[in-house]
């Protein structure tokens, strides 16, 4: 009860002192009362229960009640043994009370300090973001220190500040080196304020500011400086753990992404192998069939020529597929395709590509819009033919047979821009960024038309090998336009 309510405790102890004084007053002026030793009890109780204040006040009260009787005795019998003994008893109490009280107070303060350090480490071991941890720590320190605490911690270029007073924030930033203000505000009672830097390895990482209405003695300021060291170390640990966790998370994300990519690649290659087998088998079947027919039967010269033409076309198709495989292999090794650059007139190149696309039926669907005076491009003729054939073949494959495919060629400041437009179903927006990836085929394209998923990847690598650029625009239900830009002959 005494410890919980100091004022009540002091009143109880005061009453005890007065009671003892009344008991001790019975003796005559020539002898000291044995009751005087009983003063030690409230003094000890005051010191143990209320610390230095209790010990000092009770000892002073004991002295004040003893003093009149002591004076009377000194006056009656002089400064003899009895009076000296009583004086020594009183002096002993005056030393004992404050001394014992100081020890008790200091022991309690030490206990509080250890508890505060423990609270700091407990709070900073939390896994929440730094701003939340700092706020939680500030609230715990407010309670433990009975003061207004501000914690400012530098996080890169910015400050994270836990505190409610903008002025404290200013002071914290201005006085990161630490300072003590005996009075920080013009209130009825002084506002003591201490700013202590939070340092790790000689570098200031923040500042702890404590403001209290009342005393902030030197011993407590030293303790706060020590507490700041604990906070700094715990904050640094928390930062390191957070950084390690973030690094581990990033690593896990990277591994997961790489695994996903490898799995996707593996799936694409499986699809590619199945598709490539099919693509190779078709011309091979035709070649085997017509060669067997020619070997085992007699045909008219006209029929022989027709079958030879089919075999020639299938052989070119086979060669084209094998060329694609070789280019893909080169692409995966990071090598640029070999080019034999020459001046290539764009109009004839477009006409040649149109002619290669399955004869008059395909050619009937293609509209060529090429300015006659167009500057030639500097390109490998064979590579340019593959580029144009690929783009036109895609446009024909993925658009209805009753629609037209337009190919336009225009000059543009040192370049020639060739655009191939179709009126097909278009490409879905999520598939559009991936159309130049090797093996990629838009989900709705698979099954609608044969393809290896290599054509546009080849086209892109060839265009870039010419120091040109290519991009694709598409709108679902409207059509697709592929635009490539090649350097013109200067």
């Amino acid at each position: 009860m005494i410890r919980g309510r100091p004022a009540v405790g002091l009143l109880v102890l005061g009453a005890c002192v007065v009671a003892i004084a009344l008991l001790a007053a019975d003796t005559g002026p020539r002898s000291a009362s044995p009751w005087r030793h009983a003063y030690a009890l409230p003094v000890l109780a005051g010191a143990l229960a209320l610390g230095v204040v209790g010990g000092s006040v009770t000892a002073l009260a004991a002295l004040m009640t003893q003093a009149p009787m002591l004076f009377v005795r000194v006056e009656a019998v002089g400064l003899g043994a009895v009076a000296l003994d009583e004086l020594a008893s009183a002096a002993m109490l005056l030393v004992l009370g404050p001394l014992l009280g100081s020890c008790v107070t200091e022991a309690r303060r030490q206990r509080e300090r250890y508890a505060t350090v423990l609270a700091v480490h407990e709070t900073l071991a939390d896994e929440r973001p730094l701003a939340h941890i700092l706020d939680a720590l500030r609230r715990r320190l407010n309670d433990r220190l009975a003061a207004e605490v501000t914690l400012a911690v530098r996080d890169g270029e910015r400050w994270i500040v836990a505190g409610s007073d903008a002025h404290l924030f200013d002071r914290a930033v201005d006085h990161a080196a630490g300072e003590f203000l005996p009075d920080a505000a013009d209130g009825p009672r002084p506002h003591r304020r201490l700013s202590v830097p939070l340092c790790v390895r000689g570098e200031t990482m923040g500042v702890l500011t404590v403001e209290r209405v009342g005393e902030l003695p030197a011993g407590e300021r030293r303790a706060l400086a020590a507490l700041a060291l604990h906070i700094s170390a715990a904050l640094e640990n928390a930062r390191l753990v957070a950084r390690q966790r973030r690094f581990a998370d990033e690593l896990a994300d990277k591994v997961r992404a790489a695994t996903d990519r490898l799995e996707a690649l593996d799936r694409a290659k499986s699809v590619f192998v199945a598709m490539a087998s099919h693509e190779l088998r078709t011309p091979l079947t035709a070649l085997v069939g017509y060669s067997e027919l020619l070997a085992t039967r007699e045909f008219s010269p006209g029929e022989v020529r027709r079958q030879a033409e089919i075999m020639r076309r299938q052989t070119r198709r086979l060669a084209g597929i094998i060329d694609d495989f070789l280019d893909l292999s080169r692409l995966e090794r990071g090598e640029a395709p070999p080019l034999r650059l020459a001046e290539v007139p764009v109009g004839p190149a477009l006409a040649g590509a149109v002619e290669l696309l399955g004869g008059p039926q395909g050619a009937r669907r293609i509209v060529v819009d090429c300015a006659p005076e167009l500057t030639p491009v500097r390109a490998d003729p064979h590579a340019l033919e593959r580029i144009l054939v690929n783009l036109l073949s895609n446009a024909l494959k993925y658009s209805p047979t009753d629609t037209m495919v337009t190919v336009r060629a225009r000059a543009s400041t040192g370049n020639v821009v060739i655009a191939v437009e179709d009126a097909g179903r278009g490409i879905a927006p999520d598939a559009l960024p991936r159309v130049f990836e090797p093996y990629f085929r838009a989900p709705d394209a698979v099954g609608r038309a044969p393809g290896s998923g290599l054509g546009l990847a080849m086209v892109k690598s060839l265009v870039e090998a010419h120091e040109g650029r290519i991009h694709v625009e598409s709108e679902v239900g409207i059509g697709t336009r592929v635009t490539l830009q090649l350097p013109a002959v200067p």
């Binding site: 004076f71 009377v72 994270i160 500040v161 924030f169 005996p182 505000a185 005393e215 030197a218």
Partner: protein, 276 residues
């Protein structure tokens, strides 16, 4: 959570004011000169000795109060302390003169607390711990302190030196002097001004030690207080306790009222002690 800086506050950056900032040097000079002139005139028998007593009361207590007013006036909102100080000094001079002429005129000393009350209502003395509202618990504690110390003084004086308690008109005159001059000047200057200003620079212990030592010194040089050795020794103890406790009461409650109450009660008891 604060992430941006506020606008610097010039008034806060100027806090606390200098240790002697606001001291009315000119007024103190005039008071000291008046005292010296009066002493010279009394010495030359041009004025009666009671004139010196009147001027001493006005200069000593009025000077302390003038310094307290001057220091209080430096805290925003700032005000001019000269006229309030002059009125307080004039009241003390008139009351002291009246008391010399007729002891019953000592009742005029009660005008100075009234003048202080006017200043308190106007909010002028808030920096000294005197505000409109009265802290009830603090005032009760001050009353208990005054009663305890005063009661102890009476008992100890009666028990040790055989002093009796007197209740004649001189006691009332002395109490009026305490109410109007002695206690207000001591508490306003040593606690409200000096202790208050020191504790904003130093620790509580250093501030209370200095202010209490100043109060004791003032007591030792006060010619109107008893000078018997046993009384001085006893009073040093009591005034030390009273000074420390009153400073703590001001620190604890933020108000000067508890200290004024405890000092008034104690000095009332002190005035009732009379040698056999």
């Amino acid at each position: 959570m604060i992430t941006s800086r506020s606008t610097p506050d010039a008034a806060r950056s100027a806090w606390p004011p200098g240790l002697l900032s606001g001291t009315p040097g000119n007024l103190l000079g005039v008071l000291v000169a008046s005292l010296a002139c009066c002493a010279a005139l009394v010495d030359a028998s041009w004025l009666p000795s009671s004139a010196l007593r009147v001027v001493t009361v006005a200069v000593a207590h009025g000077g302390l109060v003038a310094i307290a007013f001057g220091w209080a006036s430096t805290t925003p909102p700032q005000w001019r302390p000269l006229v309030p100080s002059a009125i307080f000094i004039l009241i003390l001079a008139l009351a002291a003169a009246g008391a010399c002429w007729d002891p019953r005129a000592a009742i005029f000393y009660l005008a100075s607390p009234l003048w202080l009350a006017v200043l308190v209502v106007n909010g002028r003395l808030a920096p000294l711990g005197l505000r409109g509202q009265m802290p009830i618990s603090g005032t009760l504690l001050g009353l208990a302190t005054g009663l305890a110390l005063g009661g102890h003084l009476l008992l100890a004086a009666a028990g040790t030196f055989g002093y009796r308690v007197r209740t004649d008109v001189q006691v009332l005159v002395a109490i009026a002097y305490d109410v109007g001059a002695n206690v207000p000047s001591s508490e306003l200057f040593f606690r409200g001004a000096l202790f208050n200003r020191l504790q904003r620079r130093w620790s509580f212990a250093a501030a209370v030690t200095t202010a209490t030592a100043g109060g004791l010194l003032r007591y030792l040089v006060d010619p109107l207080l008893p000078k018997a050795p046993e009384v001085i020794v006893g009073m040093l103890l009591y005034l030390t306790l009273l000074g420390v406790i009153n400073a703590w009461l001001l620190w604890w409650s933020g108000s000067l009222v508890p200290g004024l109450v405890s000092a008034l009660v104690f000095f009332a008891a002190y005035r009732m002690v009379a040698a056999v």
